[in-house]
Subunit: 167 residues, 6 copies
């Protein structure tokens, strides 16, 4: 049985599924991801931000540009015209576990025939990769994860809001 | 004090740091990441694989191509000539928590003036994004994480092997 | 007289012709191309497919991604939003001439102001280039050709179906 | 048995093969392809050329730029630094079969660890696609083919010169 | 007060502003820029043009392709579907100041939710960069400037026509 | 006579000239360009900068990323591996002419067979385009110009330092 896994054609290989019959509707998606680092790394980022050098500013630009590259990165993803992308950050100072964190929240919108989940999640991933790249010289153990969809609206399947936590 | 955070210039803004003085050496990096899904989603992927339709085959191609796009995605990342990229998968059937998982392991090599960590981590991220994209129609709660470097070698800083687990 | 060759402006140089006045209609195009190889090369591809290593799976992904790159490759080609791409293969074992062949058939759809012929033909060309690349180590004489449009529909000029064979 | 088809890893999936151990040598490749059209289409191209509007000038630029995009188009293709690309055309007026033709000859050079065959063949393919695109409005039956390698030199496998004709 | 500078979000960082509520209208923009060179350089370009070698033909192709890359180059720029791009040149032989010039005029059109100013200006910039690149071997002092918008129409803000000269 | 204008082949069309015989040397280039705007626009940019929203931060990221796209934008430009890019800004408050200005200075380095002038000039152009894009909503008359090379070193032709002003 293959219904559901609609990226495969009859021969069992991949294709870009046909969305010709879908309606143009307003669509929106919000995704999240978190970068984990040493407390000292977060301190450096925050100090840099005050002094105009700004890891998060670069990550934000990278995330917005990454959202636009989504169909170029993900093979079976449909091209669409993004009408809005926004990247925000939440800072989590280290607790007893000595792990500091920055949550990246990405929002994308479009008016089109397919959803913008992948754009929102790609924006978050590229922003996280950029934070990683800019800090890896001082923190080789830096990592990121908990990347997933928080909410989406628009399209035939309606509103989705994540209820369970991301593993 | 700004030493260490070498992506910033004197005005505190971002730049691509100067690696002109670095030597061409053989460099290698191995990265990891994990996609979490419902047990039924993993079952579908595995069945598809047998029937020639292959989520992992598409993810693998996407990961290799993503590695080549690294300097185009990450603003301050130097371009380099990758000499090898390999993506492997490990399947983890669901335990009591009812969460199945696929670990993505990416290896990249180069002979150049800068390391290939970002290429390996980008390969893993793009492969994970692709698995996500191909399964999201049947599993809206799918997510991925635990993305980080396992090992790197080559260059002035020598061999790094991750000791602590990825949060 | 310059009518017909509409890519040229008054000075005789190239431009992207104005399609502002055209209507958004559903458009579809089917293209074909054939890769020629030694019988032993085809045998290897087929064995690889059974054993999960799959030249055609990679070519299929490349063809779909290539279709999305069409306006980036072909200078005067308009950007459009593809709504579907599908790549199929037909195997032709060698006859007396000892030439085996794989036909690549590419289908592309859109709802837009310009046709998707170039997307379908680019998909076929990139899939053929990929088969070539993956087999060239064992078959230096591999080649491809007979690339052309089989059918198109949608738009002012209506349905076209190829009647004559491709030279 | 998998030797020869070196793009596959142990699990039978695709990878970018390791060329880390290969030497930088001067490498060169010459490829060919032919566009077939109505005699009237060729006449239009030639008249345009005289009057400064120049299908072949655009195709030539597209071919050179296409060569630079090779590793972005072909999944398992290594990135390399092209040191030269040249595209030439030979005009073949129609004979009794009423088929006119333009042969596209592409030459690419590099000093690197992998060959430039794919760059030369991609250059030819993109130039052919461009001629097709610019003439399709007046000649829906236009097609192209006989794309293959004429000659390559450099690297461990030495000089290859095509002896048999392209099917 | 932040109104007007709409690319910034509440935290003061950059975002791609939301145009979801804007209407699809026909939009057009005309931009200009000028390349300055030695009289002998212009003479060479003109001679080359007659002899079919054509700096301006390459610049024209580059400008059209550059227009399509606008959202990939400019971080906060929305993607849109260009329906027309045209590049024209005006030759200005040197006067007493011994400075020859080529004015580049770029026109872009779209039917969409955002304007095409950036596409027209990017087209002009990339055409100027290309003229620069092709002539720099014989004229190291070549430069370009006076890049700005001449006219735009469509969208809520209506028609704009430049009145003051470009500095 | 065609010597000097080395981008043309014997048929008078464009090619990527052969640099195979050139030596890898350390090369560096510094370019300049200036964005002109209303005094009020500059004031807004400066206030934004203080409040963490930073037109120049986005322009700087865009300039660095633009430098990496140079061979993708400029048809006959050779690909090379940039080892450093830096973008700086100088603020010029308005004088009596009521024109404020921001000078963009871009530096690029490489170790390769061709110069990095085009990378430095492209970095400056893309940074200027980005400033333009981010301010055009409040200043439709914004423009940029005086783009040229200040200095280059490395390679056979040695050091060049601009003596004359840019027109």
């Amino acid at each position: 049985m293959t219904d559901g896994l609609t990226h495969f054609n009859e021969e069992g290989r991949a294709r870009m599924v046909d969305v010709s019959g879908k309606k143009d509707t307003h669509r929106e998606a919000i995704a999240t991801g978190t970068v984990y680092m040493k407390p000292g790394t977060l301190k450096r980022i925050e100090e840099g931000e005050i002094a105009k050098g700004d890891v998060l500013a670069v990550a934000q630009v990278a995330g917005v540009m990454g959202a636009k590259k989504t169909p170029d990165l993900i093979p079976m993803c449909h091209p669409l015209l993004i009408t809005s992308v926004d990247i925000r950050f939440k800072i989590f100072p280290a607790g007893e576990d000595q792990i500091a964190a920055i949550e990246v929240i990405g929002t994308a919108k479009t008016s089109g025939q397919t959803g913008v989940e992948m754009e929102a999640i790609t924006a978050v991933s590229v922003a996280a990769l950029t934070i990683y790249d800019m800090c890896k010289a001082i923190d080789k153990g830096i990592s990121f994860g908990k990347i997933g969809l928080l909410r989406k609206s628009g399209g035939k399947s309606g509103v989705y809001t994540r209820s369970e936590p991301i593993p």
